[in-house]
Symmetry: C3
Subunit: 241 residues, 3 copies
C-alpha cells in the first residue's frame, strides 16, 4: 500500500471537447482533491468505487478498481463492497459491478481463494444497540411491511454488517457514499450515527463529503452535509456530538 | 401462465468476483425472495421490469422481459408498461426499454397485432375523485405552471391511466415500483391512495416493498415504506386505513 | 439559428414494441411539446441536453447535441454546460458527456479554437448577494465540512458561475434542469431564487417544467414544481414574487 499517486490527467478528448472541464480535472480533481491529506488514498479509492457503483456508472469502475487495488484495498474488501451495495443500492448495480470487476481480477490473477470468505466467525453486534434499533424499526416499517422489517433485522443487521471481510468502519463509509450518490435523505441520519459508532470521525465525514462532492455532484453532497449538520449540531445550532 | 420458476443462479463470474454476493443471489434472491407466496410470479416480474426501466438498468431488461412473458404478463401489458413509464420516468428510460424489448419480441414472434391497442373504449374515471384531484392539482402546481397542471389533468389522468391495455391495479403497482426506484418521496402518498382505490391491498404493498427492496436497494425501499406508514397509520400511530 | 424543426418521429422499433408510446412520441413530444412557443428551440435543446447528462442517459446525447447545435446553441456554450454539470451532477456524468460529444464535434469540424475559453475577464459577482450567500453557507455546511463550504464559495460561486462562456441565465436553466433530473428537492429553492436574480422569468420556469417533465418523468417535475410554488407563492398561498 502506498499513498503515492501517479500523475493523472484528463483524456485528450476532454481537452478537445471542454477545456474548462479538462482543466478542472487536471488541476482540481487529480491535482488537488485526490491529494488532500485527510483520508488515505485507499479510503478515497474505496469511496470513489462505491459512488461509481451506486451512480450506475460502472463503466468507470474498472479504472478505479485498478487504482483501488494499487492503493491498498484488498480484493476481498472490494468484493465485499459489491455485497454491501447489492443490498444498499440494489441487485442490478452489484451485477453491473461484477461484470466490470471480473476482467480486472482476471488481469491481476486474483482467484477464488483471494476473495473467498475467511473461515472466521461473524463480528459481534452490540446487543443493546441492536435491541434499540430493532424496536424502532419494528414500530415504524414493521407497521407497513413486517417482512421488510424482518429482512432488515435478519439480513442486514444480523448478517451483512457482521461479515468479517470488511471492517464496520469501512462498511459505514461505503454505505454513506452510496446513499449520498443516490441522493437520499431519509434514514441518512441513522447511517451517520452508525458511522460514528463504528469509529468514523467527524473529520473523515467532512473529508469524505468533499471528495464525493466531485463524484456525486454538488447538490447531492450539500444535501448530505445538511443532514450531517442536523445529526452533529442539531437544528438549534448547539453542538450535540 | 405458471407460478413455477426454473432454478436460477448467479453467473459464474459473480462467484469468481464476490462469493458472498453470489451466495445471496442464489439463496436469497432466487431461492427465497422470488419464491415468496404473496404476489404471483407475474406480479413479481411486472415489478422487476418496472424497476429496471426506472433504474436506468435496461441491459438486464431482456432477461427479465423473457421471464415476465413466461410468467404470464402479456406483450400488450408489457408494451403499455413502457408507455406508463415514459410518462412517469421520462422518455429516455422508455426509449432504452424499447431498444431492449425489440429483439425479445422479434425472437418470440410477437408482432404488431399482439401489442396494438384494442378497439375498446377507454376506462371510466371516477368523476368525484377526478374533481377533487383536479382541484388540488390546479391549486398547487397550477399556481406555478398552469400547463404542467393541464398536461397532468389531460394527458395523465384523462388519457394514460384510462388506456385499457393495463388494468388500473397493475398500473398502480408499476407506478409505485418506478417511484420507489427513483427514490422520490413527494407525491408518493397520493400514489399509495390511488393504488388502494385501484384495488391494491395492504398485503400486496408489503410484499411489493420486500421484492423491490432487493432491486432498488434498502434505503429507497425503507423511505418508500415510511411514506406508506404515514398514509396507512398516520404520524400519530393510529391506523387510518 | 432557426426556430424551425424538421419533423421528428419515433423510430420503427418504437411502433413495433409500444404503439401507444410511439403515438405519444410523434403526436405529443415532437408534435406538441417541442413546438410550444414559450421557449426558443435553442433553450429547449439546452434543457434536453442538460437532462440527458444529469439522467445518465448520454447515449441519446449525440442526437440531441446535433439538434442543439442546429438550434443555435454554440459549441462553446455546449462545452461549458459540460463543465457546469461536472460540478452539479458529478464528474462521471461529465466524462460520459465528453465521450458522446467528441465524435459530434469531429463530424462538425468543431476544433479547439471553437471551444477555447475566450480571453475576457470573468463576470462580476454581486458583492452584497455573495456576502449573504457565503454567510448562510458558512453557518450551515461550514459547521460540518469547512472545506466543502470553502470549495462552494471559491470553486462554484467564485469561479464556475463567473465563466463568461455561458450566460448566467442559461447556467441557471441548465442547473435547474439537472437538479430536477436528479430528483433533489433540498437547495432547489436557492437555485430558483438565483435563477430569478439571473433574469429567468416565471413563464420560462413554467415552460421549462413542462418541457422537462417529458424527459425527467412526471413525479420529478411535479416535485420540482412544488418547490417552485413555495418560493413563488409561499406556504400561505400569498404571492411573494
Amino acid at each position: 500500500m502506498t499513498d503515492e499517486e501517479p500523475t493523472r490527467s484528463a483524456p485528450p478528448e476532454a481537452h478537445a471537447v471542454s477545456p474548462r472541464f479538462a482543466e478542472y480535472t487536471d488541476r482540481l480533481l487529480f491535482g488537488e482533491v485526490w491529494q488532500r491529506p485527510g483520508l488515505s488514498m485507499r479510503d478515497k479509492s474505496m469511496l470513489t468505487c462505491s459512488v461509481l457503483i451506486a451512480l450506475n456508472r460502472s463503466q468507470y469502475l474498472s479504472f478505479h478498481a485498478r487504482r483501488a487495488l494499487d492503493n491498498g484495498l484488498s480484493p476481498r474488501e472490494l468484493s465485499e463492497i459489491v455485497t454491501q451495495l447489492a443490498v444498499y443500492c440494489g441487485w442490478p448495480m452489484a451485477s453491473a459491478a461484477v461484470s466490470e470487476l471480473a476482467p480486472v481480477y482476471a488481469e491481476r490473477g486474483i482467484g477464488a481463494e483471494d476473495v473467498a470468505p475467511e473461515p472466521v466467525p461473524p463480528l459481534d453486534a452490540d446487543p443493546g444497540m441492536e435491541l434499540r434499533r430493532k424496536a424502532v424499526l419494528d414500530a415504524s416499517i414493521g407497521a407497513v411491511s413486517p417482512d421488510l422489517a424482518r429482512y432488515s433485522n435478519e439480513l442486514l443487521f444480523g448478517d451483512l454488517w457482521l461479515h468479517p471481510e470488511l471492517a464496520p468502519r469501512d462498511r459505514s463509509l461505503v454505505t454513506l457514499a452510496a446513499i449520498w450518490a443516490m441522493g437520499l435523505q431519509p434514514l441518512l441520519d441513522y447511517q451517520y450515527r452508525r458511522a460514528f459508532d463504528n469509529g468514523v470521525t467527524r473529520d473523515e465525514i467532512s473529508d469524505a463529503l468533499v471528495h464525493c462532492a466531485f463524484y456525486v455532484g454538488w447538490p447531492r453532497a450539500m444535501a448530505a452535509a445538511m443532514v450531517a449538520r442536523e445529526v452533529l449540531v442539531g437544528d438549534d445550532g448547539e453542538d450535540h456530538a
